[in-house]
Symmetry: C2
Subunit: 395 residues, 2 copies
């Protein structure tokens, strides 16, 4: 199958592109390298240094004999996207090409506006291009479990059947996202659902949980293929960050009570979920929603798992509660369904002590590269008065 | 009360600004005249020619002794908005400053992207400015009944209490909008709800129905104060268009079966609803949603009302069914609640034969200005293949 991976130079996108290529699909990466730019902006670096995309792809070809095409440009630039699609003619489009950090979107007004415009316009461009000349192509769009928020009822996969005043209907599951980034994905979901209805677009909206790990069978083949590993306050995700803190002997910082429950998955399951979605396309006009995660944990449970894993290899880690930079419920009901990908054949790799230990060992091996200052959370959902005053100068 | 009316040069905005000024509020209009530009773009004209805003405001001052301040600029330009708010320091912000036509948003990709970026960024700017230095100000934001779509259950005012698998929660009412414009309002609603939660913004989201009529007590005071009256295929609303068709002896064109049911209100009720919302501000952190309409009709019922009204003044109008340019259900359940504004004191002016007759007479008086060619609906929700081919050249 011909699959375009938008955002294929990023964390999930890179692992996905290699996996799909290894499985025999014809893969094209569409990326503008902006994720690398954000590292410069934030003064952060991936723990595992990553090569130029051209190098990565050359090594992949030398090792496997497989070619991945490359289109360098911005998905929010319709002329570019149009010509890339015209040239590659994908049968499936895997769309990771969005600004994906909640803290980044909360830095200030400009970052909020950038995140929403970038993500919404990029996805609109993909949908219009599909309508124009890829009517049978299947969009596999990365959403987020964060679109749902933390309602006091079970979270279904995209839709809920409601009985109300004696009538019944199946309607989109109500969304209560918790950052301008998560909101941008909600906007996308509504836009996608509409175009499926009016233009007959085929779409699968994958509401992904928090991803952990970096290594897949493919990225492990050569050092040049290594994936990025983010542990900074803006792009680092929680399990990766805890492991880095443990490896350098710092307390694992749990924001607030740590009762925040979220869905999690191993990056090796991310890539398999994507392939499953591609192999089982949505029907014309269908907007399918899958919740893409394998386990739920509270943040405190995760910290405890890392503490135990660390103890097993002789590291004594402590857990420290820090003020929560976000505004969110710190204890709440959470029960999100995630059976649809299992029904299509996903057999999950659950979080194991072994995985944690392997991560910890790898991080210890890169210890000298860790910049502990980037672990400190500087972005606040509700800015301090002083920060507000500085920001209130229009700029 | 100091009230800023964003979009105060437009159809609802102008009537609202005058009404609030007449009621003794200190009013400022913030507008960039883009609505006038769209007339030029589309080759359409308001039936009732409107004066320059400076003229309108001068006449208003001469007649009433009341001054309305004017800030000319774009709400999506944060520097401008910031300085306008700094200067005027509003206690309530009435936000009409959005692209409000569903067909306009469906013209092509560029118009879809423009509509969503313009509306979403403008509203984000308002919210950030409120956070920065107007923490106690009340946002009165115009949404649309079209955010809800046509679910098979009763439509509540913004929120619905759901029982699901033995648990219960009150959640945002699920949204199923039917155009890129309606989607932009859904995006706004989610953004507003989030900022109420995290920053304590006070907001009232008014999901307005289809507005008809032009005359209010204030606009009737002088010819220079007359409101715009749009009957073209892009900005004209259905009752106004039917009246124009009847007045020039053309069939009233009902799209499809005409069973599409919507909420409607008289523009004289629009302005009163706005004042009611301003007088009863939301609490800090509250995101209140009111459904702002007074009656439900099917499109066919409206056509029949106009036919009867026309007959009463000696015009024989016929109803013709035309292919529906939109993709929507043409017969459906529709029962939308709208009690909250009534509870706060709105006494509705329901659609009367007298109003229809007055509108018809006025339109007859302007007969020679009517351009019948602009009544033809040219925008298609699903473009014809030929239109698609032309559009598929990136431009």
């Amino acid at each position: 199958m011909k699959i375009a991976v938008l955002g294929g130079d990023g964390y999930c996108g890179w692992a996905t592109a290699l996996y799909l290529s290894q499985k025999g699909h014809a893969v094209a990466i569409v990326d503008n390298y902006v994720r690398r730019l954000w590292d410069h902006e934030l003064g952060a670096q991936t723990l595992t240094p990553i090569r130029a995309l051209t190098d990565r792809l050359r090594v992949w070809q030398n090792l496997t004999g497989k070619t991945i095409e490359m289109f360098v440009g911005d998905v929010s630039d319709y002329d570019f996207l149009f010509s890339a699609f015209r040239s590659f003619e994908p049968e499936a489009i895997v769309h990771f090409a969005e600004q994906r950090s909640a803290p980044y979107s909360m830095i200030d007004r400009k970052h909020a506006v950038f995140t929403q415009v970038n993500n919404v316009v990029g996805t609109l461009n993909v949908l219009f291009a599909m309508r124009e000349f890829l009517p049978d192509c299947h969009l596999v769009k990365l959403g987020t479990m964060g679109e749902y928020g933390t309602p006091n009822i079970d979270i279904e996969e995209g839709y809920i059947t409601v009985e109300h005043n004696g009538r019944r209907d199946t309607v989109p599951f109500p969304k209560q996202p918790g950052s301008f980034y998560h909101l941008s994905k909600v906007h996308d979901s509504h836009n996608i659902m509409f175009t499926c209805k009016i233009w007959g677009i085929r779409a699968t909206d994958l509401n992904q949980g928090v991803v952990y790990g970096t290594m897949t069978d493919e990225t492990a083949l050569d050092e040049a293929l290594i994936n990025r590993f983010d542990y900074d306050d803006v792009f680092g995700t929680v399990l990766n960050r805890f492991c880095v803190q443990a490896a350098i002997g710092q307390p694992l910082t749990v924001y607030g009570k740590g009762g925040q429950t979220r869905g999690f998955l191993d990056i090796r399951d991310t890539v398999r979920c994507i392939e499953i979605a591609c192999h089982n396309p949505a029907a014309r006009g269908e907007c399918r929603v899958y919740n893409q995660f394998t386990e739920q944990f509270t943040v405190l449970e995760l910290a405890e798992r890392v503490r135990e894993g660390a103890a097993a290899i002789g590291i004594e880690a402590v857990i420290a509660h820090a003020p929560n930079p976000r505004k969110e419920l710190e204890t709440h009901y959470y029960n999100a369904k995630h059976t649809k990908l299992l029904e299509l054949g996903l057999s999950p790799r659950l979080l194991s002590d072994e995985l944690i230990d392997t991560m910890l060992e790898r991080i210890r091996g890169q210890r000298e590269r860790i910049d502990a200052s980037t672990l400190v959370q500087n972005v606040r959902w509700v800015p301090e008065p002083s920060a507000r005053a500085a920001e209130s100068l229009p700029a």
